[in-house]
């Protein structure tokens, strides 16, 4: 009886894929299609992550593959969390992330607000503003190293022209108090357009009639800005901050090219410290522990942030 019913069902649905590919159910075919992706993902994402977690509990060194591997328990984590160099690196990262986000959000939103007015030639200016974002970080890093050059660099020349400080004193990359700002300036130059684009999408999503209603309701431009523009664009702004935050937390390429972490270790952000521990000291186990700590920190912060973002979006 049951078989008969199943047969009837099969006959009633002649278009089923199962009938055309003999011996395979729709579900099996679906798995077949996503299997390559899943295999790749497992091989290059999930497995290394699990392997790194394992290594973080050992004294494994990648340059001595034949040395005996011992389980050292939590001592790698202990060293990472008490290492003053690592705390220094975390502070450098926090400084970098905080200021780049602040500057990029403020400037990016302001640019978006101005571009949104649709003045003459706004499309041309939008394209022009977007150019830095399209360059490769390696190119940008090299580029700005020359711009920052005290003797021949345009940056030093321009600053000297405006302030009258001799160019030899404008050691953007060599001075301990200027170098952190040098990398912040370059990152801001490069990524403000990105924040601007997202903010622009936010501003364009606000329908005109809301502003018209506010205008008839006698809301001043100032009040419209704070009670309509900002709250309605806020989810977009927060999204831009999230993207930039995650990106800059793992900043490596541009800083390596600009300062290499120097002078001293003042611009040594976490990822550079990590790279040094892993591929210069070859302390693979300890570096893995550091990587896991970073991962948990970023993941945790991002999660809290996304919860806040969802709350804002649901208002």
């Amino acid at each position: 009886m049951v078989e008969k019913a199943a047969d009837a069902t099969a006959r009633a649905t002649p278009t089923s894929v199962a009938h055309r590919v003999r011996g395979l159910s729709d579900r099996a075919i679906a798995w077949l299609f996503i299997a390559p992706t899943i295999t790749l993902l497992l091989a290059i994402n999930i497995f290394p992550l699990i392997w790194a977690i394992y290594l973080s509990f050992t004294n494994y060194r990648a340059n001595r593959p034949n040395a005996p591997v011992q389980n050292v328990g939590l001592s790698n984590y202990e060293r990472v969390l008490t290492d003053p160099d690592i705390w220094q690196a975390m502070q450098a990262t926090a400084h970098f992330v905080f200021w780049t986000i602040l500057l990029q959000t403020v400037i990016g939103f302001t640019l978006a607000y101005l571009i949104d007015r649709k003045f003459r030639g706004h499309a041309f200016w939008t394209t022009l503003i977007l150019i830095p974002m399209m360059l490769s970080p390696a190119v940008v890093g090299n580029f700005w190293r020359f711009l920052y050059e005290p003797q021949i660099g345009l940056f030093a020349y321009a600053v000297s022209l405006v302030t009258g400080i001799p160019t030899a004193d404008i050691q953007m990359l060599g001075n301990v108090s200027l170098a952190p700002w040098a990398i912040i300036i370059v990152d801001t130059w490069m990524w403000t357009p990105y924040v601007m684009l997202i903010c622009l999408a936010g501003l364009r999503s606000i329908p005109d009639y809301i502003y018209e209603a506010a205008e008839v309701d006698r809301a001043s431009a100032w009040r419209q800005f704070w009670s309509i523009t900002v709250p309605m664009a806020l989810p977009f702004i927060m999204l831009a901050v999230l993207f930039r935050g995650i990106e800059n937390f793992k900043m490596f390429d541009m800083v390596t090219l600009l300062t290499g972490g120097g002078p001293g270790s003042i611009t040594e952000v976490a990822s550079i410290t990590l790279k040094r521990a892993a591929f210069e000291s070859w302390a693979t186990g300890r570096a893995s522990a550091f990587a896991i700590v970073l991962f948990v920190a970023v993941f945790g912060l991002a999660n809290i942030y996304v919860k806040a973002l969802n709350k804002v979006k649901q208002r």
Binding site: Y209, E212, E215, V216, D217, R218, A219, R223, S227
Partner: protein, 335 residues
């Protein structure tokens, strides 16, 4: 509240003449409805009065003062948009309070609170004051939008098809409520719609608009019973007015120059008669009434009949005109 007078108002968008020399005066406390098809210039008229568009020519007087050059905020008008133009990140309460919190008003907080609650009761949304405005049904959103206009006491309320996006039942309900509230407050109201039922039921006076021109202004009775032109006659009445040649049916007494006779249900007498001039083609049963589709020679007519009127498709009837409307070749009314 104040009189609002429009004189020679004109507005062009690119190649389209949205409004051409529109004259209209709205008396204090009057409910005026502009009725016309999409693109007739109704919304443009409202936006010009509100100051959301600048006129190309003409005067807009509110309380005797020409406001054509003033910003929307200075004109003392309230606007209800066709879309639910609520501030989405605010509660219902904050939406209603928004216009009252304009710094120029300098209203005390408890006065704002009193007015918000009073209006919320009036538009029957007082049970949802703390809800986010995005968590409301369409009908509730539009009540809030109407309420947000009503919390103010402007010179004139401007409403742009506020009920058009609601379902039929809700529309009928809000129609009644809006009329009740307008009477209660004695407010001056200019209301735009393409729905003849809204126009007929709410308006003190109706203005028929087409292609940027105001064709006729009058009470609903005048517009319906005494239309100035074919176009106006065709705007009102359900089913649509039947337009017939002069010699088709008996009973007419057309004045010289008549080109077309307009006949609505009340202009047609039906008598069952085997030797008659007409035949029933089809009957649509609407429950409370029937639509009769009638053929007279090669012309088709639609009229209403009582559901108890014993008649079937194929029956022959004798159809006679009784005081129909006469129009000349240019569509102007005669007689």
């Amino acid at each position: 509240m104040a009189d609002v007078v429009l004189k020679n108002l004109s507005k062009r968008f690119g190649d389209t003449q949205a409004l051409a020399d529109l004259d209209l005066s709205i008396r204090d406390g009057e409910f005026v409805v502009l009725l016309g098809p999409t693109g007739a210039g109704k919304t443009t008229t409202l936006r010009l009065i509100a100051g959301l568009e600048r006129p190309d020519g003409g005067r807009i007087e509110i309380g005797g003062r020409n406001v054509a050059g003033e910003a929307p905020a200075d004109r003392d008008v309230a606007f209800v948009f066709q879309q639910y133009s609520l501030y989405p990140h605010m509660t219902v309460y904050d939406n209603l309070a928004f216009p009252l919190r304009a710094p120029v008003r300098k209203l005390a907080n408890d006065e704002v609170d009193r007015r918000v609650r009073e209006i919320a009761r009036m538009v029957r949304i007082d049970h949802k004051l703390e809800n986010r405005s995005t968590r409301l049904s369409g009908g509730e959103m539009q009540r809030v939008a109407i309420g947000r206009a009503l919390v103010r006491r402007p010179a004139i309320y401007l409403m742009d098809e506020p009920l058009s996006s609601l379902d039929a039942k809700l529309r009928a309900e809000l129609r009644l409520e809006l009329k009740r509230i307008q009477k209660e407050l004695g407010s001056t109201l200019l209301y735009v719609t393409h729905d003849q039922v809204e126009a007929m039921t709410m308006a003190d006076r109706i203005g028929i608009v087409a292609e940027g021109r105001l064709l006729q202004v009058g009470t609903p009775r005048e517009i319906y019973g005494d239309p100035a032109s074919l176009h106006v006659a065709a705007r009102l009445g359900q089913p649509h007015i039947n337009l017939l040649p002069t010699d088709l049916l008996p009973g007419a007494n057309p004045p010289p120059g008549t080109k077309t006779i307009g006949a609505r249900t009340e202009h047609l007498d039906i008598v069952l008669d085997q030797n008659a001039n007409a035949q029933i083609d089809w009957i649509e049963h609407l429950g409370d009434q029937n639509h009769l589709h009638i053929r007279v020679r090669d012309h088709k007519l639609v009229t209403l009949a009582d559901p108890y009127f014993a008649i079937r498709p194929g029956d022959r009837i004798s159809l006679t005109l009784r005081d129909p409307l006469y129009f000349d070749a240019s569509g102007q009314r005669l007689g």
